[in-house]
Subunit: 156 residues, 2 copies
Amino acid sequence: MQPNPSENAVGAWVQLVRSGQTILARVEADLKDQGYPPLEWYDVLLELDKSPDGKLPQAQVQSNVLLAQYNLCRLVDRLEREELVKRQPSPDDGRSNHLVITEKGRTLRREMWPAYAAAIQTHLGSRLSCEEAHQLGGLLGRLVQAEPAECDAKNR
Amino acid sequence: MQPNPSENAVGAWVQLVRSGQTILARVEADLKDQGYPPLEWYDVLLELDKSPDGKLPQAQVQSNVLLAQYNLCRLVDRLEREELVKRQPSPDDGRSNHLVITEKGRTLRREMWPAYAAAIQTHLGSRLSCEEAHQLGGLLGRLVQAEPAECDAKNR
DNA sequence: CTGTTATACATGCAATTGCAATCAATTTAC
DNA sequence: GTAAATTGATTGCAATTGCATGTATAACAG
């Protein structure tokens, strides 16, 4: 493996951080303007809403969401306070709890989607062709594969 | 323009947020393990270090960095406390101040780079070919072109 | 000039995050 | 079976962030 990143890798890095943060901020700002909560709320609600009975162990939600354990814990506090989800003791593991989405939670999730989709279209979709978007998704997907401990792979 | 984002756009969006945050977290973690401060510190120090006399108006630093005005202000508080930069009243504009990088600041910046570069290589460079990195940078760059007025997020 | 608006920076306060425990219920190893 | 390690969740406290506002200077309109 090259000891130093190529110029292209550094360039991609810079753009990745910059675009990631900028676009995320823009999309979140759009949602916020319309009175909606932060995207993490959506992420959690979506996970639960997708699940067959609207219920998942907190640990599993956590693994699908980009949050530290204690941050999810506190996010759930907030969601629970707004009655969007409920905590429910797990029958088969005394440490764990299930998160259950409420009707109110499902409704909010459903109502947010059009605004969210529109923001994605405005800030990302409208700036790339369909193939470009596909390509971008593919390249980015390669970056988050499990940590390869010590990577050898001669630059291909 | 399509009213709704294509599936590809949504996919790219998801990967963008996920990869952006994940890779950023990994790189920052590597730096932190080696006792270095967060990347924003690096960003500010680099801006100043690049500048001919190590000095820039705070407002200009701000426009090159992804931080809200009040957050830069407080970051500068911290940098100043560590004696990495100094605030200096601007001679030609009584509202403004110049940020000046200190020797200690230059040293830290210089010492951080190898660790930073290695982290970029590990988490990004080693996972993409040179052309792929180039392509990725190009696609991402297209996303942050100036917005039709609105939004806080900084560009350029 | 003088009043209005805009710019550069700072700050009080509330909300959120990160860190380092802590607690309780498993699981594992002997 | 029991001690030790692990896992899932939580919490106190300090640091950081967001928001609204404050202060001072500069630019502009009349």
